[in-house]
């Protein structure tokens, strides 16, 4: 079954054709959700009763953190598919996701710090969430570093898959141990920025922004994957036909 699926839907040629058709739709979806989220979030959502307008950075911060974690999950799934079923598209998807994941993680950290300065009075606290995201950045960077030293394509795909799989097994353990560590060390009490009951008028633009970030990720991912596939298959006939 999987072999059939691989032949029919996961072949590079078919993927290239399907993605060509998908790209404009992704751009449209991204533009719609991004425009709605940005305008509603920045101008129409009510100001927070404690943080005033300062909270509006949430519309960048939370989507980028969410996207970063989603990207790691995507990479881990692709890693399993690469190792077990040798699906080429999965390997390409994993390789192309990694730098995007690193950038989104960095964006989450930077926006978090900018938000933290007026709210907590400091750019950085060793809060459990911040620390976990920092470690996630290290995982992405380690992945990229390993990617950069292996020359042979197949070996690179397989080695990075193994690393991504250890990452996904360890990520929950790291996350909970960091929470444990944080409660034990009695960090700053203000550190919890969880929004337990967010008003719907604040929530909808947030959801829209999360969707927009995900569409953006998929859009860039498809562009990168198409490039990568053309490079990897540059000797094959479908590439020559596609480029004519």
């Amino acid at each position: 079954m999987l072999h059939w699926l691989n032949q029919r839907f996961l072949s590079p040629k078919l993927f290239y054709e399907t993605s060509t058709a998908m790209l404009p739709w992704l751009v449209a979806l991204f533009t719609l959700t991004f425009a709605y989220g940005l305008i509603d979030g920045l101008f129409f959502a009510p100001a927070d009763y404690q943080q005033g307008d300062g909270f509006r950075i949430i519309y960048v911060h939370v989507p980028s953190a969410f996207t970063a974690m989603a990207i790691y999950a995507v990479m881990a799934c692709c890693a399993v598919m690469t190792l077990v079923w040798r699906i080429k598209i999965a390997a390409v998807c994993m390789a192309c996701s990694a730098p995007l994941g690193a950038w989104f993680t960095l964006l989450a950290l930077v926006t978090g710090s900018i938000w933290g300065k007026p709210m907590w009075g400091t750019f950085w606290v060793w809060d459990a969430r911040l620390t976990s995201v920092l470690i996630l950045l290290f995982l992405f960077l380690g992945f990229l570093a390993l990617q950069s030293v292996i020359i042979e394509q197949r070996n690179r795909d397989r080695a990075t898959s193994v690393l991504a799989i250890i990452g996904i097994i360890n990520l929950p353990i790291i996350h909970y141990s960091v929470i444990w560590w944080n409660t034990l060390h009695q960090g700053p009490t203000i550190s919890k920025f969880a929004t337990p009951s967010i008003a719907p008028s604040m929530l909808y633009p947030l959801l829209a922004m999360i969707a927009a970030f995900l569409f953006f990720y998929v859009f860039i991912l498809l562009l990168r994957m198409r490039n990568q596939l053309l490079l990897r298959d540059s000797q094959t006939t479908w590439v020559k036909e596609a480029l004519q």
């Binding site: 570093a145 030293v149 397989r158 250890i166 990452g167 360890n170 790291i174």
Partner: protein
């Protein structure tokens, strides 16, 4: 008995090395692979041995893909590559013992002595392999051909470095192997005076051999005999320990590193006993982490240089068990020494007695996790050049849980709080990593060997 290969194509850096190689070998057949330097002879042999995977095409043993029936194929295979797979710190005799264990064979000492005699190495029985000449090492690597009868021999330039008597002896062995209905695949530049010889010339486009579809015949899976298996694994463990202990700079380095790093902190932060007591858990655990990770950089290095990893990958024993035994020996020689000395350093940092006991227990539970995780990282870097200090960057983030629970246990012991929870979690981490890490390491190692 049938070894077939069909449409085998291999490319390196998107450039085809050879393509559409095919052929069929039956009992008593000899395949002579010829070609200029760089034409891919060694690569083809590694593909036929199952060490590398072709980009396209299949290699089948009795009609099954060799990757599907890896265990039974490797049981029937001897491969001798460019590198001899000898451990330099071990003596000639110990190397033969180790090869015997890797093949999961059972031999009496007399039989092993007889093999030494046949290889004309009996005078060098107790000489460390590092003192042997290239030709003598080559002879030693031939020992596995005598240890166990297998159906398929794959020999890569086996005649290099051998003197004429040695070459004659090897060719005689090959002749006997063919006479006993074995399959021989050999790459050499010399002409071979063997019967029923087929030749593949990698530089010429035409390959003169037909390839037939072979109906898969049922294979008898090698039955794991637990007693032999555990004895073989124990032998590899024992020899790994001996190898490391004979290289003092290997096992002393992490110990001294640990002591020096711990001693730097009081010098940097001042001798205040209260301060030192507060930060001691962190210092000791960070030092343990660093000492372990620097030792992990060497865990596969020598084996890779000597070609011993190929032997591990081709052993009929389960690779993850061999890796577990290797990592355990690494732990016992590199981590145990600094665990034993840690109470002394703890005393220098004003730990209480309960904390000292906690420190030893936590290190005993935590450092194996560090070794197992480090093993995966080290295996990922096998076969790469210029990776420098990549290992700590890859693996250190995964050390965070051990660091957190290790230091938390010590802090709790400082306040005489209950400790069982910390130990339970560290035990769980140990069990989880010993279940997953050897398996992932074996995937990474096979991948590393194949490049």
């Amino acid at each position: 008995m049938k070894l077939t290969f069909h449409n085998v194509t291999f490319e390196r850096a998107s450039r085809p090395l050879f393509s559409h190689i095919q052929g069929e070998l039956q009992a008593g057949d000899c395949l002579h692979i010829q070609g200029a330097n760089g034409s891919g002879k060694s690569t083809l042999l590694r593909i036929l041995a199952g060490l590398m995977e072709p980009q396209a095409g299949t290699v089948c043993w009795q009609g099954h893909s060799i990757f599907a029936v890896r265990a039974s194929y490797q049981q029937q295979l001897h491969y001798i590559g460019h590198k001899n797979g000898i451990k330099p710190p071990l003596t000639t005799y110990e190397n033969i013992q180790l090869q015997c264990a890797l093949r999961n064979g059972e031999h009496t000492p007399e039989e092993l002595e007889a093999i030494l005699k046949q290889l004309r190495l009996e005078n060098l029985r107790d000489t460390q392999a590092m003192h042997l000449s290239a030709g003598q090492l080559r002879r030693l690597s031939l020992a596995k051909l005598l240890l166990q009868k297998t159906a398929v021999w794959i020999l890569d330039e086996p005649l290099t470095a051998l003197d004429s008597a040695g070459q004659d002896y090897l060719l005689q062995l090959c002749q006997e192997h063919l006479a006993q209905q074995g399959i021989l695949i050999i790459a050499t530049h010399q002409d071979l005076a063997l019967e029923k010889i087929k030749t593949v010339h990698l530089n010429k486009k035409t390959v003169p051999m037909p390839s037939l579809a072979v109906k898969p015949t049922p294979l008898d899976e090698p039955m794991p005999n637990l007693a032999t298996l555990s004895r073989s694994i124990a032998t590899t463990f024992y020899h790994e320990i001996k190898t490391i202990l004979r290289q003092a700079c290997s096992w002393l380095t992490p110990l001294l590193f640990f002591v020096i790093v711990v001693c730097l902190f009081p010098l940097a932060l001042g001798p205040d006993p209260v301060l030192l007591h507060t930060i001691a858990p962190g210092i000791l655990w960070v030092a343990a982490l660093l000492a372990t990770i620097i030792s992990m950089g060497n865990v596969f290095r020598q084996d890779e240089q000597e070609g011993y990893l190929d032997l591990l990958a081709l052993s009929p024993l389960p690779l993850s068990l061999l890796i577990l035994s290797k990592l355990l020996s690494h732990w016992a020689t590199h981590c145990l020494p600094f665990i034993l000395i840690s109470p002394v350093l703890g005393a220098l940092l004003q730990l209480t007695l309960l904390q000292e006991l906690t420190l030893i227990t936590a290190l005993l539970l935590g450092t194996p996790v560090l070794c197992l995780l480090g093993g995966v990282g080290a295996a990922l870097l096998v076969g790469l050049r210029n990776h420098g200090l990549l290992l700590p960057i890859l693996i250190m983030p995964f050390y965070i849980p051990v660091l957190i629970f290790g230091t938390s246990a010590l802090l709790a012991a400082g306040f005489t709080q209950p400790l069982s929870g910390y130990f339970a979690i560290m035990g769980a981490l140990f069990l989880l990593s010993s279940a997953c890490a050897p398996f992932l390491t074996s995937i990474a190692l096979r991948n590393g060997v194949s490049q």
